[in-house]
Each structure stands twice: as C-alpha cells, then as structure tokens.
Symmetry: C2
Subunit: 304 residues, 2 copies
Amino acid sequence: MNLLFLGTGAGVPAKLRNVTSIALKLLEERNAVWLFDCGEATQHQILHTTLKPRKIEKIFITHLHGDHIFGLPGLLGSRSFQGGTTKLTVYGPKGIREFLDTSLHVSETHLKYPLSIIECQEGLVFEDSQFTVEALLLDHAVPSFGFRITEHDKQGALDAEKLRKAGIPPGPIYQRLKNGETVTLENGRTIRGSDFVGPPKKGRVVAIVGDTRPCENAVTLARDADLLVHESTFSGDHEQMAREYFHSTTLQAAETARRANVHQLCLTHISSRYGKEDWKVLEKEAQSIFPNTQIVSDFTSIDI
Amino acid sequence: MNLLFLGTGAGVPAKLRNVTSIALKLLEERNAVWLFDCGEATQHQILHTTLKPRKIEKIFITHLHGDHIFGLPGLLGSRSFQGGTTKLTVYGPKGIREFLDTSLHVSETHLKYPLSIIECQEGLVFEDSQFTVEALLLDHAVPSFGFRITEHDKQGALDAEKLRKAGIPPGPIYQRLKNGETVTLENGRTIRGSDFVGPPKKGRVVAIVGDTRPCENAVTLARDADLLVHESTFSGDHEQMAREYFHSTTLQAAETARRANVHQLCLTHISSRYGKEDWKVLEKEAQSIFPNTQIVSDFTSIDI
Ligand SMILES: [Zn+2]
Ligand SMILES: [Zn+2]
C-alpha cells in the first residue's frame, strides 16, 4: 500500500504544485489504484509516473470545487483511449453525475468500459472483503467529504512447516485449521487451528481529509489511523484567513492529527503563496504540535 | 501579430505534445490575446509563457471533442482568480454553453468578469474596426469550424513633413486629407489627400483549420492567407486511417495549402504515434507538395 501525491497545491495550478489528486496504490492488495480527487492535468501528472490509467478502479471526489474535479472528464476519456475496459466507479457529492454526464455527452466521449457514478452520503461508501471506505462531511464552503479507508485485519498465516512436523499431511483440513477451527482426525486426534496459525495481521487505516476548517469529523475519521492526509492551505499565523476561506492552517491540521492519535501526518493543499523556501518552515510549525509530520510535494511517495 | 502554439498533439496529452490550444497574440494591435481551442492543461502550458490570462479577450472553439475543450473551465476560473475583470467571449459550436454552464455551476466557480458565450453558425462570427473573423464547417465526426481571421487594411500614413513643406499648417484639415478627401483652402487652393497619404497597409490573414478531413471549405477559409494552420494527424501513407477518423494527412494538408495559395503552412495536431525522430520526415512529406511548411511543436512561436 502506497500513497503517491499527484497534485499538492491549492486553488489554481502553479509551476511547483499541481491542483489536487492523490493515488492510493493497492497493487499488491488488489492490482488496482484508487484516486482521491482529480484536479485538471492529473492525467498529465500520471504521464510522469508508472501508474496505468486502466488500473484505476475507483475515484473518490471530496468536493466539487474545480481544482478537485476538472481533470476528471479527460482522465476518463484517456483511460478508455488507452485500452481500459474494466469497470470504474466514481464516488462524490451530489452534482458529480451532472458534471460528468454533461462533459462526456457534449464532447461525445464514448467510454469503452462501464462507468458507475455514486453520489454518496455520510457513512459507509464502499465495502468488500478487503476494504471499507467511510465518509463524513467536513466544514467547507461546499459539501466536502473526508474519507477513512480501512483495510480489514488479515488472518494469520498457517504454519505449514509446524503442521508437517506434527505429522499432519496437507489436505482440505489445512483450510479449516487456518479458519481457526478445531478438527478431529480419523484416528481421534484433536488439532486446534489456533496452535498452527500465526497472529492476525492488523489492517492499515488511512484517512484523507480534503478541504476543511478544523472540525470534529476530521478527528473522527482519523482516529488511530496509520496515516492522515490533511489539507494545510495556510501557515499558522493565518488562522483568520483560513477560517474565512474554509481552510486549515498547519497548526490546526497538526492539532487534528494529535487529537486523533494518528501515527503519521502528511500535509498537502499548500497555497502557492508559499515558495520552496517556506515549506520547511511550515513543516516545523506543524511538527511543534505533531512531530511525525511532513509537507508533501507533487510525486512524493509514502509507503504505508 | 504572433501565433504561439500551446498544445500541438492529437486526442490525448503526451509528454512531448499537449492537447490543442493556439494563442493569437494581438498585443500591439489591441493589447489582447485570442485563444483557439483550449484542451486540458492549457492554463498549465500558459504558466511556462509570458501570456497573462487576464489579457485573453476571446476564445474560439473549433469543436467540442474533449482534447479541445476540457481546459476551458479551469482557465476561466483561474483568469478570475488571477484578477481578470474584463469581459471574455467564448465562441463555439452548439453545446459549448451547456458544458460551461454546468462546469461552472457544479463547481461553484463565480467569475469576477462578464462571460459571454456565443454558439456560432457558419459565416461572420465577429467584426470590429480592426478584425473580421469568419467560420465555415469542415468535415469531422462532429461539427467542426475552421476560422479565417482578417485584419482590415490600414490607411496609409499622412506625410506631415510633406504637408508642412507645401505650406499647409496642422489642423482639422489633416484628418480630412488622411481620409483621402480633396479639400479647398480659404485662399482657394485645392489640396488632394491622395498626394499626401502613403499606400494603405494590407491587413494580415490567418486561417486556423481544426480537426477535419481535406475539404473545400478549408481551401475557401485559407484563400491567399499569410498563414494557414492545419491539422495533420497522420503521415502521408495513412490516408485510409485519416479518412476513417475524420482527420488529414501531411500530404492532404499541404495540398490544401497549395490550392489555397497561402504564404506559409503550419502543421499541428500531430499523433503521438510519431516520435521526435519522425517529425522531420512528416515535414519533408508536406514540403514535397508545399515547400513553405513547418511542423510546429508546443511553444513554437510564429511572427506574422
Ligand atoms: Zn481545493
Ligand atoms: Zn482533436
């Protein structure tokens, strides 16, 4: 599991930071990539990575501001042009369907794969045997979701070597033992699965909190997460301006991370008013409250 | 008058060529820039030039395929964000209004300048004291316009030195002479304006022919133009494929230039199947029919 930041700027594209998009690479887990937001030229950013658009399985949109959605029609079209045939699902606030339907219809973009658009509500957005995605509304000028992605805990591995040593030959019984069952053999011997199964592997949790003022739902989404991605449009001294524009400062984002007891904090959505020389200063501000913080840049890659 | 190519690729963005946009810089003429088409990330390309989005006065859209319009909502929003306050007019085929209205509405992009959207027909699209813009339909999979931009001839300059030498003092009479009138002075002397006015300066003509198969209307638009910009998606040997996809080959574009008797031909909308090493070959193909041809690249600048 790896996060690749494709755009880390705020509002308008700038030379050093494109507008927002984050790729959650789940290649080992499901040979798929999930995108969070898709600002203009996200597909251009992807050209400079090893990501394959056809592997994008889901796109979660936090909110409908242009810097988070204007790259969507182009990316959907190119995914088709470049041979994508598998289903793609877009999740987002009400309005995302109208935007996509109109853009694809007017431009006569005929996708060669099934596109599913889900206008989501707070609560459970997606669940399968591997992952759960939950959404809560944040505090922004328009409805803006934060997402909590939870990987389910994995069963411990069956210790085949130990089973062999105990004289239990491979067979269907192995799966039952792996599931933790207690099995009685034909010879009357009783085998407890728990004796041969390693400890379960804790699933990872990532919280992606888009544009917002500091708010309780951000803390709820991020509770005990391995990684929190939080917007941080302004420096600590611009609390008033951040409030006015429905954004957060470095300090506010760090405070959310501290309260939520996350392991690691990545700050993104950095205003272009801050040049390269300011980024370390912003990072230090946040670290004064939550030490395990970094300001990410376009193409920063984080293993989770 | 200068043409700056912002995107010269076909269909999808590639590392070496972005999707279509062309800037006609009229800085000396009217302190303004006109765009022709606005593919995704046109505003990103502009970041690497000296163009100011607030100086963009008009945007002409040839057709509604995504690679020609998906950069429009973002550019309009950024023009506002970056302080543009003067009116902007977008001309394009029917459907451009629905696309822009929906994109701006859904994203709650509130422009701080008046936006006028004109869904145009064949014929005269725009005219003022300086320029005429005419449109004709080409032969593409969807309605696709070519544009002919005609600068009006300029009156010759009044030779003030010669007038002084002839003993005619400056005054309102100068304007009448400049207009070519014959004026009788109080002393009965007759002065012919034509004796004191230099030759008129011929206005320049640029034809921009977007996605199309070769067609008569392209020749009509380009007739005797100083510069013809023509699409050239495929090499000369791919005539069948060009026809199938409603595009032109190098040879077909050159033949249109030859028939129209233009001065200079710029080929754009080059498929990404052609790498850097192929461009000279494509150029030579076209030059075999129309010698004054060049294949343009992103950021190629042509003075007219
Ligand atoms: Zn934003
Ligand atoms: Zn095109």
